[in-house]
Amino acid sequence: MIAGSRLAASRRVSGIAGVVLTGFCSALAAGLLIVILGYVVVQGWSAINPAFVTQLPHPVGVSGGGVANGIVGTLIIVALATLMAVPVGVLTGLYLAIYGRGLPAECVRFLAEVLSGVPSIAIGLFAYTILVQPFRHFSGLSAAFAFAVLMLPLMIRTSEEAIRGVPTAIREGALALGLPDYGGVIHVVLPAARPLIVTGLLLAIARVTGETAPLLFTAFGSQFWEVNPGNPMAALAMQIFTYAISPYDDWHRQAWGGALLLILAVLVLNIGARWALRGRTKRS
């Protein structure tokens, strides 16, 4: 009896210790977000002013200036990447959802999974070899291409899941009316799958908006207003990187300011994506 209760006590202590320890690890991981967010807000806030978001960067040594061209460049590059990634991603997702049985489709799925783990810098190199090297100059377009490749795995997976998630009854409803395959898909299945596809798209956009590595040798960066994607372009994430590793205090301040803008954009996209999803699950 006594031995038994002693054993129980030690087991209870180890249980409590385990819960406390694992709980501490959870708090650590979640708290890290707050710490980083806190630093970015505190440090970045002082850099944010109208000039910062409307002006071009000033030359080295001249304080002030802004990252307006980087914001515009990021918007253009991400928009172009979305234009490229959405059709390919959604159509491939459709293919997998509709015809995706058997080995070839499994291979495509596996490739998408694998591509999602390929370092962005390798994809940047790919964009460089096929869109920069042959034309002998850097361009926003090549950066958009690299981003599009980065977006594809997520687009494909979420599109497939979204389309599979449309109830069979709805699909058969379209079939029974005598709608051709494409008619049923375009008018009935895709609209029903849209909220989930949009969620995936927002997450994909969030992912590439903060990407920096592939930009270094595709968009390359620019000190000027550049809205022609055929030319080298500035991008916000790249400006943060350049400013951060520079030796100037004023640039460090601007790097924090840029980081604040970037992290806000990415968090808004992420929360928006989840919010869109929540509205949907509540309804069904």
């Binding site: 109830p167 009854a169 058969e172 029974a176 009316l177 005598g178 395959d181 008619g183």
Partner: protein, 275 residues
Amino acid sequence: MQTTVVAAENSVPVEDEADVALCARSISAWYGTKLAIRDVSLDFRRHSISALMGPSGCGKTTFLRCLNRIHESALGASTTGEVLLDGTNIYDPGVNPVVTRRRIGMVFQRPNPFPTMSIFENVVSGPRYTGLSRNPRELKDLAEEALRQAALFDEVKDKLDDPALSLSGGQQQRLCIARALAVQPEVLLMDEPTSALDPLSTLKIEELMEQLATNYTVVIVTHNLQQAARVSNFAAFMLGDADRVGSVIEYAPTQQIFTHPNDRRTEDYITGRFG
């Protein structure tokens, strides 16, 4: 083998061949390698209501889904046999199943309005996307008539642009009937159309079916004997064997099948001696 003979004998309670709108010949259907129904042959008389009844798992829904070739759209599902629509076999290699489904409409067990569309858009989705009509005026008229035929128009005429999902279950089912009618089918297949509905909605739909029979050939699957007795002109009794392979036991005018069934098994089922 014996089943085949019986089914063939019972397959034509319709005297005049020209009165047959839809005619199934030796339909067998599989899910993968599992045989679901064997050798089902039934004729359906024009502008009448034929009921398929039987315990669950007897293959009545599977058979119904073979009549508009929707069975084969499921993964691994296949069919053999013939279905003659006005003398043409819809399983002929040259016949496009998509086109066939425009002539043979279907209403499902659960209401399945297209979730992203309004009431109006649901009704006209068939004509609009099958290319039957794209003219806005004509679509509007089509929608009104289809909704009237489905006895829904008066309830929804002021909110045609509301989401289809805002309707009650019974209204949704009548919306689905209107949607099917708007494509102008010759035959209307109904797969337990009231099983998900309350008694009042069920009554409405049953009344509606009788009206529809003046213009359409209706085939309805039901496990509800009273419903079959109330609405149908002809009734087929299907039963699964020990391997759960379904076949037709008896097919006759409804009156006869409920009063003087030929087969012992039909009688057992009707008198409630089955589980």
